[in-house]
């Protein structure tokens, strides 16, 4: 992946897997320049390992979110009266 692309010999070499994975979040957040993004896309087009990494990275984030938003916690919109009372008593001491 470090050799120049045969069809675009004048361009820079492909970014390496290390470069792609180090800047993956910037890629996903669309913070890369168009040129950098193009280079990333060229790499991903020929590197199934990095594509697998990208997909599993996204899945890891999605799973983390999904499991931490607990329905029991979501139901806890009402602050317990005991807590309200404890705060009230503590601040009026």
């Amino acid at each position: 992946m470090t050799s120049a692309s045969p069809d675009r010999p004048s361009q820079r070499p492909y970014p390496t897997c290390r470069e792609v994975l180090d800047f993956l979040m910037s890629y996903l957040d669309e913070e890369l320049s168009p040129d950098q993004r193009h280079e990333f896309d060229r790499h991903l087009a020929v590197c199934p390992s990095c594509v697998n990494y990208l997909e599993s990275y996204k899945t890891a984030v999605r799973l983390g979110k999904a499991v931490m938003v607990d329905p029991e916690q979501a139901a806890e919109e009402v602050v317990p009266e005991s807590l309200l009372r404890a705060i009230r008593e503590a601040r009026t001491k």
Partner: protein, 219 residues
């Protein structure tokens, strides 16, 4: 290899965004408290308390003293409310206090053994290739994230993250604070938060990888 679609637009959109109306209501209550109407503080706790309880539970896990930390958070807020200058949203300011209260609590816990974050990050050859090519994961739809064993498994992997990485992951990906808000809450730079978040996500991926690889995932 459909990697061209904008990947995070849906993935990272807020699942529980801040409620502008709540923020407006809080701003009014904060002004009343600052003006001496201390009883109004009860209303403030009722409106903001649920989210603060949730963030403390998530940051502290099964810690039995979660409610004590929530109480400490609001007492600190009450005592220092005159310092709230309104430049940030009140909930952001309150989050910072809650995060600090949680961090103080975490520091007093018996320190658990933590592995280095490097243990969970990808490794590379000298030429920049991955040492071990990444294999695809079984699709989420195939196992269902509603399964209690899957949820417990993922939670346990999050708990395994080194604390400073877990906290950033919690604030950015779970609590959905912005990078700037997270940086403010933790006293970090924006670029520092981005770097730490990326490593935390990579580490979480690495921790889950052996179990979610297609051929190894338990039925």
């Amino acid at each position: 290899m459909d990697h061209s679609a904008a990947p995070t637009a849906d993935l990272l959109s807020p699942a529980h965004p801040a409620h502008p109306s709540s923020e407006d209501a809080l701003a009014g209550i904060v002004e009343r408290v600052r003006a001496g109407d201390h009883a109004a503080f009860d209303e403030l706790v009722k409106i903001a308390g649920g989210r603060i309880i949730a963030v403390c539970r998530r940051m502290l896990g099964q810690d039995e003293d979660v409610m004590d930390v929530v109480q400490d958070t609001f007492l600190s807020a009450f005592k220092s409310i005159s310092n709230f200058d309104g430049r940030s949203q009140f909930t952001t300011w309150l989050y910072k206090i809650a995060v600090n209260a949680c961090l103080m609590r975490i520091r007093t816990r018996r320190r658990r053994r933590e592995r280095s974050i490097d243990d969970f990050l990808p490794t590379f050859l000298d030429d920049g290739h991955q040492v071990d090519p990444t294999r695809p994961w079984k699709p989420c739809e195939a196992f269902g994230i509603e399964r209690s064993d899957i949820r417990a498994f993922v939670r346990a992997r999050i708990d395994e993250l080194p604390e400073q990485y877990r906290i950033v992951l919690m604030l950015r990906d779970i609590e959905e604070l912005s990078t700037e808000e997270t940086a403010e809450a933790l006293g970090m730079t924006v670029s520092g938060v981005k770097t730490r978040l990326h490593r935390a996500r990579q580490a979480l991926r690495g921790l889950m990888d052996p179990f979610f690889r297609s051929e190894e995932f338990p039925a």
